[in-house]
Symmetry: C2
Subunit: 110 residues, 2 copies
DNA sequence: CATATTAATCGTAATATTGCAATGTTAAGA
DNA sequence: TCTTAACATTGCAATATTACGATTAATATG
């Protein structure tokens, strides 16, 4: 089917999956890393930085924007992208809660 | 194409994406949460716990096993699954490094 | 041995994702 | 206004993912 049965899972589970999915592709990881590294707005060099065609980068940016992880503001003919710190922290909190589940666990049992 | 151009990205980027991808589906999030909650081996009740068919669960378990996040040992006619703590911690470290990138960042610029 | 139980695998349908060429849009500069 | 630039959108081909029915494999149990 290719279609996830999201309705049988909790909002929390779907939220975790939603955020994680966006990192599930190396191009988006690379884009985010670059945005962090530059530390100031990037305007268009992502296409040169990463080795993918312009429409492909544009599409990945769109997905990141849809989740709210990045912001884009038009700057003349170019567009300036940067991390949305607030949303990033929110996501970090949610994912960390999931990743830190193990503290109570005392070891493997298999 | 549906095929990610992994060769143009660094090993680190591909590794982050690989781990994240596995959480990119709520069923796998649910499976992991349940394995943590039970805190002892779960053998087959995952199918009842989560509302998906047995082959579907089996497939998700396979992916989790492939990455090394869970271990399974045969226990009679059933199979006992549990978290692979060592691998989980390794993954946590890698993802945390990615999620914590923001510390140096001083705010949005758009 | 016959049968039931449990889980893996196979095959397949439906849908999603990835990537890009072609094209559209918008704003700057000549 | 015309042209160029920087992106976004559209449309499509190739591949991946998700889900499940049917089947298979392995082990208990009567």
């Amino acid at each position: 089917m290719g279609l996830a049965k999201t309705e049988i899972f909790s909002d929390e589970q779907n939220e975790i999956a939603g955020f994680a999915k966006v990192f599930g592709h190396p191009a988006r990881v690379a884009i985010l890393q670059h945005l962090f590294k530059i530390n100031t707005c990037v305007c268009g060099d992502l296409v040169n930085e990463i080795g993918l065609a312009q429409p492909t980068i544009s599409q990945h940016l769109k997905e990141l924007k849809l989740l709210g992880l990045i912001k884009g503001s038009v700057e003349g003919t170019s567009v300036c992208y940067c991390i949305n710190t607030e949303k990033w922290l929110e996501m970090k909190g949610i994912l960390n809660q999931f990743l830190n589940q193990d503290i109570a666990q005392q070891g493997d049992c298999c």
